[in-house]
């Protein structure tokens, strides 16, 4: 099976490559190697987690996979596309058609209702026609159990409800891959497990690949494939029983 994400020796360095003066050091211009020659492959319909302490490079890696940033070195393919050479506009278009995002702080648009937040990617990114749009929004809101709350604004929802809306928004556009950076960091454990169970359920139903990052060991166990990161390097891969072929 063709890998959905293929990374070969990807390295990400922030700032200047070498320090030329004392000011460079104090100003933070000195090179920071956030990722160092990381290679991995992720198959479609996987439920993958990148785990590691703060500063290990999880967010950087997710940003690279999500075409929000580009690696300094290496090769990265997402959904069969070499994302290194995409322009800003092409990246935006690629994200809109292939990727979904779930953020730690939910990042719902405060002036839009639940329904409108979920509708946003269909309307503003994919230009899906009205009838089809309504069907997909309803199905997604039903899947995350938010149909009753569809006319509420984000500030009227609890953290868990907000994240369920964010999941619906990420999935409504039928992405090949959903990226979630610390999706449960702002939730209590009970809600966090509930949110993850929603993600898993939708993965099963829609066969969408989920990649999420976390530093919470209790949450990590929910993933089927776990990549460990430390100081920008991939230090291990755990595959749950029954997922060995992934």
């Amino acid at each position: 099976m063709m890998a959905l994400v293929r990374a070969e020796n990807i390295t990400k360095i922030y700032g200047a490559v070498t320090a030329r003066s004392k000011e460079d050091v104090t100003s933070g211009a000195v090179a920071t190697r956030a990722l160092n020659a990381v290679s991995f492959e992720i198959e479609p319909s996987s439920f993958v987690s990148f785990v590691g302490p703060s500063g290990s490079g999880k967010t950087t890696l997710l940003n690279l996979i999500g075409c929000l940033d580009k690696p300094t070195e290496g090769k990265l393919e997402v959904a069969g596309v070499d994302v290194l050479h995409l322009s800003m506009r092409q990246s935006a278009s690629f994200r809109g058609n292939n990727l979904g995002f779930i953020f730690q702080d939910f990042n719902l648009i405060p002036v839009l209702t639940v329904h409108e937040n979920v509708e946003y990617p269909l309307l503003m990114v994919q230009n899906v026609p009205g009838g089809q749009r309504r069907e997909r929004i309803f199905a997604m809101l039903e899947a995350v159990g938010m149909v009753d709350q569809k006319d509420k604004y984000p500030d009227q929802l609890s953290g868990g409800q907000k994240q369920r809306v964010a999941i619906a928004r990420a999935l409504v556009a039928n992405p090949k891959l959903v990226l979630a950076d610390e999706p449960t960091a702002n939730l209590d454990h009970k809600t966090a497990f509930l949110v993850l169970s929603f993600m898993k359920k939708l993965r099963d139903e829609l066969e969408t690949t989920f990649i999420f990052s976390t530093h919470d060991q209790k949450i990590v166990g929910e993933a089927e494939i776990i990549y460990s990161l430390e100081d920008g390097e991939l230090t291990g891969k755990q595959v749950k029983a029954g997922k060995e072929n992934a």
Binding site: L68, R89, A92, G100, F103, P121, M124, A173
Partner: protein
């Protein structure tokens, strides 16, 4: 676009007080500009109306060189009969012309048998003159205010009547020298006293044109000028150009141009005041542009700064930079539109109140002129278009900044 507009309006409503304050500022600017434009505009058109409708006419045709020597009222620069007939034929065929009035202008001695002074006179056909300058009749403060000026009658300027203690019914003598140097005199009965108006010819007396020919011993009519009134004053410049071009081909025996055409702007010093009003209006509009530009730019810069994470989110989920740009431009546009609509309604209401209160003012010797502030729909439209365009321009820089924002940096923003 409609959906972007919906989001833009919701974003404006997010900060209601700020939106309200900015829209109020724009509205106030629009109201002040509308008031200024309507009041000065009505003052200007009233004054232009006074000049053109009570003495000058909309435009005048003279023999070439007459206007440069007009202070001397040179009889040798009058238009001879063939030239006048030619001009009359041209004017009678032009559909733009409402009416025209030939005038013989000359200077003479004015005597009451007790006192003698100088006078400038216009010899006119009363019916043609009143069609061409319809407010002339209203200047007759004493006597025949129905506009009848029969042969043997004279309308005397008010100041002269006062200083020489003249009243309607008195007999006076006019003595003038014709272009051959022969002197002639004629008795006239005062049939009206003419109120003065500011500007050239505002203190002239009037007699019948045939009396003028008698006094000047003209065997054939020679006219000093022809005053013309147009059906549509708005066509003044176009008609002046047309007529000038048409008459440019008319040459005298020496092959030199025969006629010169001047509209009221080159005949009256009030034109400079009118120009000054236009310049002031321009600067007032410039101030409005500055108010709109600064206030909308300020609001939009704040909006972008406050919503950096939100911009990062919509960019991350695939919103194209062009749509992000449109979203912020639409916000500025909506704000400007709100200000314009409110400003126009308020302005229209205030102008109506101003007109209903019948404010009067004086201009020169004219007193009790009632201010009638009229706002032209074209002015309203122009001001609205300016504000809306400036709103877009003011939003462009913040909108561009938002559209070019790096999603990662935007998402990291606290």
């Amino acid at each position: 676009m409609l959906n972007l507009f919906k989001i833009a309006v919701r974003n404006l409503l997010r900060y209601k007080r700020r939106t309200l304050l900015t829209a109020s500022l724009i509205s106030l600017g629009v109201v002040f500009v509308l008031l200024f434009v309507s009041v000065t505009g009505s003052f200007k058109s009233m004054m232009i109306g006074q000049m053109t409708d009570s003495m000058l006419g909309h435009l005048q045709v003279h023999r070439k060189g007459y206007l440069a020597a007009i202070d001397n009222l040179p009889l040798n620069l009058n238009l001879k009969t063939p030239s006048y007939r030619k001009l009359e034929k041209i004017l009678s065929q032009r559909p733009e012309v409402e009416s025209y009035s030939p005038r013989i202008k000359f200077g003479g001695m004015f005597s009451t048998f007790v006192e003698t002074t100088n006078i400038r006179l216009n010899g006119v056909y009363p019916d043609l003159e009143l069609k061409t300058v319809p407010l002339l009749a209203s200047r007759v403060t004493d006597g025949a205010d129905d506009g009848t000026l029969n042969k043997g009658e004279i309308w005397v300027p008010e100041l002269m009547a006062k200083s020489m203690k003249l009243s309607v019914g008195d007999t006076v003598v006019i003595v003038a020298t014709n272009q051959d140097g022969s002197v002639n005199g004629k008795q006239f009965g005062v049939s009206g006293v003419l109120e003065s108006v500011t500007g050239p010819g505002g203190r002239d007396g009037y007699i019948h044109i045939e009396d003028a020919m008698d006094v000047l011993r003209m065997s054939e009519m020679e006219v000093s000028e022809i005053a013309i009134r147009l059906k549509d004053f708005g066509r003044l410049h176009a008609f002046t150009e047309d007529l000038s071009a048409l008459l440019a081909g008319e040459r005298n025996n020496q092959g030199k141009p025969l006629f010169e055409v001047h509209n009221w702007e080159s005949l009256s010093p009030f034109y400079n005041i009118a120009r000054l009003i236009d310049i002031m209006t321009f600067f007032i509009k410039l101030m409005l542009i500055a108010v709109v530009l600064i206030s909308i730019m300020n609001v939009m810069i704040m909006a972008v700064y406050e919503r950096i994470r939100e911009i990062g989110t919509i960019a991350a989920i695939g919103t194209l930079p062009g749509k992000i740009l449109s979203l912020f431009v639409l916000e500025g546009l909506s704000l400007g539109f709100l200000g314009v609509v409110t400003g126009n309604i308020l302005g229209y209401f205030i102008i109506a109140v101003l007109n209903a209160s019948k404010i009067s003012f004086n201009f020169g010797r004219q007193t009790g002129l009632v201010l009638s502030a009229n706002i032209d729909w074209m002015d309203m439209l122009t001001i609205s278009v300016i504000v809306i365009l400036i709103s877009v321009v003011a939003s462009l820089q913040p909108a561009l900044k938002a559209s070019k924002m790096d999603p990662i940096n935007a998402l990291r923003h606290v």
